[in-house]
Amino acid sequence: MIEIKSVSLVREGQRVLDAIDLSLPKGGITALVGPNGAGKSTLLSLAARLLPLQAGSITIDGLPVSSTPGKVLARKLAILRQDSGPPPRVSVREMVGFGRFPHSGGRMTAEDREMVAQALDRFELTDLASRSLDRLSGGQRQRVMVAMTYAQGSDYILLDEPLNNLDMYHARKLMIELRRLADETGRTIVIVLHDINHAAASADRIIAMKDGRIAADGTPEKIMRTEVLEAIYGFPVEVVDAGGMRLALQYARSGQPRDQARPS
């Protein structure tokens, strides 16, 4: 269980997170949604000890993230963030293999190799295994990063906007794969998503954040309502039932009157 207690964060005089209390039980997919700057990525980074806690506490299965050794946490929890650095010239297989570092310390055992092969297979990367990372498209590289995070073999997987750069096929495929991971292996997945329909289709629970607070928290059925979404995003989002799913019609359509300016 990830237990977040009264976590606040101030950055450059701005309150980014405001007394967040949240507990995420083991298992299932939790989607974090909300407008840009709501604090989703910051919260994820705090939980993964990438940022120092200013106030409050976060524990992973009872282990406080602020004081648990990095190596111990790395076997419990893996995070994938968006990174702007240059891609290294290593092969896809080597890169996914780095995910085993917390276990192997660099010396890969047969078990580590098996896990890497499985990760390559799961994310359809076996054909690209020998390719150098700097010769991949952005989307392919993104899949490599997710496969590496999976190969880390941690109970908790935190993904910050993993659908960035992915085309429709691979975005869908990744969500299916994450669903399978959660169902078959009992991994706990927390994922920041911008597409609320992906969240509704795949997540067990949606947590919406706005202005550093939790604006809504519940099952997709509970969140996918016009009045709830309007409170989060600030415009009336039409929600329809289609194909057995609740779909938010978030798109701009020609000929539609412009949204009224709304006092927030």
């Binding site: 000890r49 010239r89 092969s91 570092f101 020998s130 150098s132």
Partner: protein, 325 residues
């Protein structure tokens, strides 16, 4: 680029090793004094000539080259930027400041003490550079080397000013322009520490490779990023300071060699670090040999030869790659 297998790494290491051995033999054979076994005509006996002058000089070139190339690789890993090296990031200039301070206040200090103070100053200077480099926007990778050049220039100017005020400019020239002609037995042995630097870097190779993925990813993989940064800083500073103290500044080795190796063999440091070390040794030994041959029997300092050869090789390689792509 096809996958770089361990066999390919071994092959590259073997051919680089062979190349280095040839250069070492060549370096031992070149000099004003002819090699003769008898010591006739008042010539120096062969064993003495080799053990007092030629061998120390050659070893100094090999050790400094290997160490500086590895230091450059570590620097590029710490900054996540391929365009920096100790001599363009204020490290070497800070080391020179250290030697200057010792020379001013403890003129009788031996080489060891000079190296120690120089390392300390290099450490402080590089830490300032790194702290600033991490604040620069990662979307603009050219800002890091640009800042390094400016920063190194400012530190270097301060060093020149102090040296000028104290009438020490000719010493400064010795520190800031690397050359091996003064290397004799008893005057270069500190450079053996380069072996430790290279060994430590190879020991940490996996961790350094993971560091290159960025702080977030490295931390997620359980790496103590801060600790590794400190270790890397110490290795870079000690190596640069040693080189400045013993033979003077040799530019471009740390920039050219890691980039060439990265293009040929990739970035998995476990496989490539030995190649970086060998490549550095080859480049510096080769440039020293050139410097001794171009105006024989006079010498051109290795720093000067490198200043021309380093960028030349680098440009040729970049342009060649562009044509292939």
């Amino acid at each position: 680029m096809p996958e770089i297998t361990p066999t390919a790494h071994r092959r590259a290491i073997a051919s680089a090793g062979l190349c280095l051995v040839l250069l070492v033999v060549l370096s031992l054979g070149i000099g004003v004094e002819d090699l003769s076994f008898s010591g006739a005509d008042g010539a120096m006996p062969l064993a003495d000539l080799l053990s007092i002058s030629r061998l120390p000089r050659t070893l100094a070139a090999v050790l400094a080259g290997a160490g500086l190339a590895v230091a450059g690789q570590i620097m590029q890993t710490l900054t996540r930027n391929r365009f920096v090296e100790p001599s363009t990031a204020g490290t070497a200039q800070s080391a020179a400041l250290g030697i200057l301070i010792v020379t001013l206040f403890l003129p009788s200090a031996d080489l060891g003490l000079k190296a120690l103070v120089a390392s300390g100053c290099a450490l402080a200077g590089t830490a300032v550079f790194l702290a600033t480099a991490h604040r620069l926007p990662p979307e603009q990778p050219y800002l890091v080397p640009l800042f390094g050049l400016v920063y190194g220039g400012v530190v270097g100017a301060a060093v020149t000013y102090v040296a000028w005020q104290n009438d020490l400019l000719q010493y400064l020239d010795i520190w800031m322009n690397g050359e091996f002609s003064g290397v004799l037995k008893g005057r270069y042995e500190l450079l053996w520490i380069a072996v430790l630097v290279v060994a430590a870097a190879i020991f940490f190779a996996d961790r350094l490779t993971i560091m290159a993925l960025g702080e977030a990813q490295a931390t997620s993989l359980g790496l103590d990023y801060r600790r590794m940064t400190q270790i890397g800083l110490v290795l870079v500073s000690v190596m640069s300071a040693l080189s400045v103290v013993v033979v003077g500044l040799i530019p471009f080795v740390g920039l050219v060699v890691p980039n060439l190796v990265s293009r040929l063999s990739g970035d998995n440091l476990r496989g490539t670090l030995p190649q970086v070390a060998l490549g550095g040794a080859i480049l510096v030994t080769g440039c020293d040999i050139l410097g001794r041959l171009i105006r024989f029997p006079y010498e051109i300092p290795v720093g000067t030869v490198m200043g021309v050869a380093g960028p030349g090789i680098f440009l040729w390689f970049i342009l060649r790659e562009r044509r292939d792509a």
